[in-house]
Symmetry: C2
């Protein structure tokens, strides 16, 4: 694949998606106050962000409503309480995890909903179930994407088979998700090229969702963008599980299209993110996340290390060696 | 230029340089205790680092010895107190700033010194003075490099003229220095290619020194490496002016040559860097540094913003707009 655009060009195919509530909710069990969500919505509208993801459509049969904030479930009314009829250019998305969503009950027809897009999250081995769910949502009238997590663990041959299946489906976009923050830019470019090849063949857009374990979430996002990837996930101040995501402030600062405006992002961080951090909510690059990224492992052990306020990095390194 | 090596290959031309004292000293006016420096020296030896930079050779005529720690001056005896005769594979470097070093007095013959390399730091408009200093140090027996700072502000035609002059000099390596943390990977690859073209023509190595204003110091370093750059600056936990540098722990984690070992780096961070941070020494990525990087400005205003414990990012953004 050739490069698509450069630092002087505007790409009108770009869609910036704010995943602050959804990935950030993994840090605080989705307990955001309504003012935070209202300010975030306003910041995204003003900043020219294309999509705002409000959270998960998790099944209340599987997850106890008393143990999570409302954005793990994203009831229609919860979103409407914030956005009304959403009379803005910002589209609204929710994420539905394969095996954790009662979609036939909980995903109502789009004509009755303020939601525009459903993103289906899956590991590569549950692609058939993901496609079933995406097709259901498509028939309900939604834009859909399938986001394949932990792609750093996938074999090339499996990836090609998966891309072939997704190419033939009704989804708008296929996401490359580096859940473990394990991938370097040269790997991201290669994987993005593979996705883009199938994307061109079948008329699908390609997206990227990066994690910051090795301080590469922003670099990997803009390198993928340079190859032709167009759906770009970011979060305010990188809020997200473990080392967090691609920081919205860096991404908006990078994009050339004058529709994007960094000032509302700065104001939101100033007012809401600093408050969260002062309350002790913790995320972002640290040695333990670098190590799970480097070992291509789920960040769960690094998250425990952080919660336990440990700083014995050398011991943690030895513990990870045993998990390889 | 073609790519040089990939993730599976070992590049024997790579030289990792630890600049923790020198760039980190800009954060704490070079007031490190001797135990910190001894532990850092031991960590670098054990980690397989190639060079350790002890600090600046600043002139005591210009700078008051009572206002800075000893590593701003790097007296021969100060270094020997730490390393003895340095009977290790780790080489020792110091930095000499053009116009701030009385080099004819303070750079003694290498045969009498434990220092191996002198790195001359210059802006592009003082290249003739930098070459004079480098030639003097070369004649004294040292390895030399010239490090051209703030390259994000230089014109291409000036860069080519400068590279021609340095190509014809006696220096071992020419450094690309992104002092403002302003450059994106695609720009770094282009500039690195230009440097490498002259490097190949004249038999010079090329180096990179990156800053982390946009969380790109590591990405830019490994992308330059992929193009053929071989002298790589890093600091422990990215300690350095403003947003800091390329983190040593990420760089060592990336390199494939088994001579490099991350464990001593982790132990050093655990013991010494956490202590510094707990003492209130501050550096690293933050919104104010992103903004000076994005505006391609010296980080001084962001450093003042940090010292004043300000968090009014939107106001700071407006202040920078006025400086454009």
């Amino acid at each position: 694949m050739g490069k698509k655009g450069n630092l002087m060009s505007v790409r009108h195919d770009i869609k910036v998606l704010d995943a602050t509530i959804r990935d950030g909710g993994l840090v605080n069990d989705f307990y955001f106050d309504d003012e935070f969500i209202r300010d975030l919505y306003k910041a995204n509208v003003d900043a020219g962000v294309d999509y705002m993801e409000f959270g998960y459509k998790a099944s209340k049969d599987l997850f106890d409503e008393n143990k999570f904030g409302k954005w793990k479930f994203c009831d229609e009314q919860s979103i409407r309480d914030i956005v009304g009829d959403n009379d803005t250019d910002l589209k609204i998305s929710v994420m539905a995890d394969v095996g954790r969503t009662n979609y036939k009950r909980d995903i109502i027809p789009r004509s009755e909903s303020v939601i525009d897009m459903v993103r289906v999250a899956t590991y590569i081995n549950t692609i058939p179930a993901a496609i079933d769910m995406a097709e259901y949502c498509h028939k309900q009238g939604y834009e859909t994407t399938v986001n394949i997590m932990a792609i750093s663990n996938a074999k090339e041959s499996d990836m090609k088979q998966m891309l072939e299946l997704l190419g033939q489906s009704s989804v708008e976009a296929i996401y490359l998700v580096d859940s473990y923050g394990a991938l370097y830019p040269e790997q991201i470019r290669e994987i993005a090229d593979m996705y883009l090849e199938y994307g061109e063949k079948y008329g699908k857009s390609i997206g990227i969702h990066a994690h910051n374990n090795q301080q590469l979430a922003f670099a990997n996002t803009i390198e993928a963008l340079g190859q032709g990837v167009s759906y770009l996930d970011a979060t305010m101040s990188s809020m997200g599980r473990g080392a967090g995501n691609c920081p919205m402030e860096l991404l908006i600062g990078f994009l050339q299209n004058p529709k994007y405006n960094i000032l509302p992002v700065l104001k939101f961080i100033e007012k809401q993110i600093i408050k969260l951090k002062n309350e002790g909510i913790t995320w972002g690059y640290d040695i333990q996340y670098l190590l799970t990224g480097r070992f291509n492992l789920h960040p769960s052990s690094a998250i425990s290390f952080t919660k336990d306020k440990r700083t014995d990095y050398a011991t943690f390194y030895s513990e990870l060696l045993d998990k390889e």
